[in-house]
Symmetry: C2
Subunit: 239 residues, 2 copies
DNA sequence: CGGAACATTGAGAGGGATCAATGGACGTGG
DNA sequence: CCACGTCCATTGATCCCTCTCAATGTTCCG
């Protein structure tokens, strides 16, 4: 191979403050480099893994945007999450050594492949990584619980407002605007995630536009009044 | 203290096939004994821990029945799970070193306290436990995703049917009947978990009774036609 | 026995689903 | 460059499932 080996390494990755190495010291990150040896490119619309695939690795999103979804035997499916840069995909596969959901790229994407046996070996070796892995899994559990809260006890407007706020917050942490975003998913995918039909998603967007809370042009969304969105999510702060 | 020290140990616990030690060999279980040193009794209606409490330990349910729930700022709450004998509570606390939900005993209960720093230390020491802890967390994530599917895309009857089937299945794994159960939670708690109002839960029970699928007498439920329940959850097997 | 907590059932209202039609954005190929 | 098809989004009209409000019944316990 004459292709100059681009060093695939956490230590020189500009995402290290968002990704697995977050909070590790430079010494520890160098050890991590042993773990992340390969990258994988995923085309828009194709799957990083699918239900039933043997589980071998966790994946860190390096670029692009993913959705994960589960499917009922009768074909309905539920988007369980959207993952952006620096987030970890694949934790669902650990229990049964097979993936329990599909992970699909919503735009051309690249992930760092982290073979799970190596993750385990390395986290036996040094405490910081061990703690880190545990926190990543725990964070996912807490996130899932807040989605359950959303699905179980919020109305359409509250769900969409919470969704938008969550998205901009995560994008902001990645250096993007606090008030503008481009949705990478369709209305139907948003609806699936939020437990509502795509028409309801669209109508709710239109409602927010009418109220002057946001501007929408297809996938582009501009938040004009963040406070209004927050009030929708939490109707009576202080009650 | 004159109270004879009852040995608190996984190695002589009759739940070891269901609980943390599941699948470990006797050698490894002896090591686990170092970890589980104390038990704690929780009265019906009181909390094992609450939102915001410092996180120190995971808990294995030894007897009794718990619910975990999260709360919105405006007071609505969502039951995120029901835990029975052998199941692990507290994983939500790992990320922020504070608990993110309340865990409340639905009947007088007893838990084994597993200080998390010791869990981490021991799982650095031996691989089987490490793998086990990872699987327990991953199982929780997969479970949460299936609850999201339930909340996001099922109707009331499907939700309740899925709930009943899940409960009896878990109870059966603990040696109880496949067709009879006593609910430990109120209609309101079931409703909160399933994202529906208590009246709807009650009505749906009545509907199942009318159809001859189950018998209900308050908290006591007898399943007369398991297949019918399964058909409700998966309306068109094969479509 | 009386009260509190929990459960059932009814009647009516409403939020979101469903069905359906239209319109815009984008990519491909002529 | 425009035509065309496809995918996606918007909007309207109607329906229905579940919520809400309300009354009654049951169980449990002091």
């Amino acid at each position: 191979m004459d292709i100059p080996a681009i060093k695939v390494a956490c230590s020189n990755c500009n995402l290290r403050e968002l990704c697995l190495p977050m909070g590790l010291n430079s010494d520890e990150i160098v050890k991590l480099d042993r773990l992340v040896s390969t990258r994988r490119r995923i085309k828009r619309g194709s799957a990083l893994f699918s239900v039933g695939d043997p589980f071998t690795s966790l994946y860190a999103v390096r670029s692009g945007f993913f959705k994960t979804c589960v499917t009922t035997p009768d074909g309905r499916d539920q988007v369980t999450g959207f993952q952006m840069t620096g987030e970890i995909i694949g934790l669902d596969g650990i229990v049964n050594e097979r993936h329990a959901c599909d992970a699909v790229a919503l735009e051309d994407a690249e992930v760092c492949v982290m073979p799970f046996d190596q993750v385990e070996a390395l986290s036996r070796e040094f405490t910081t990584l061990q703690s880190h892995v545990h926190k990543i899994m725990s964070r996912e559990i807490v996130r899932d619980h807040s989605v359950m809260l959303l699905l179980g006890s919020m109305r359409a407007e509250e769900r969409l407002a919470a969704f938008l706020l969550n998205l901009v917050q995560r994008l902001h942490a990645r250096g993007f605007s606090q008030s503008e975003l481009v949705l990478r998913m369709t209305r139907e995918e948003i609806g699936s995630y939020l437990g509502m039909k795509l028409e309801t998603v669209s109508r709710t967007f239109s409602k927010f536009v009418d109220e002057g809370t946001i501007e929408v042009k297809q996938r582009y969304v501009r938040i004009l009044d963040t406070e209004a969105l927050k009030r929708i999510v939490t109707p009576c702060e202080g009650d």
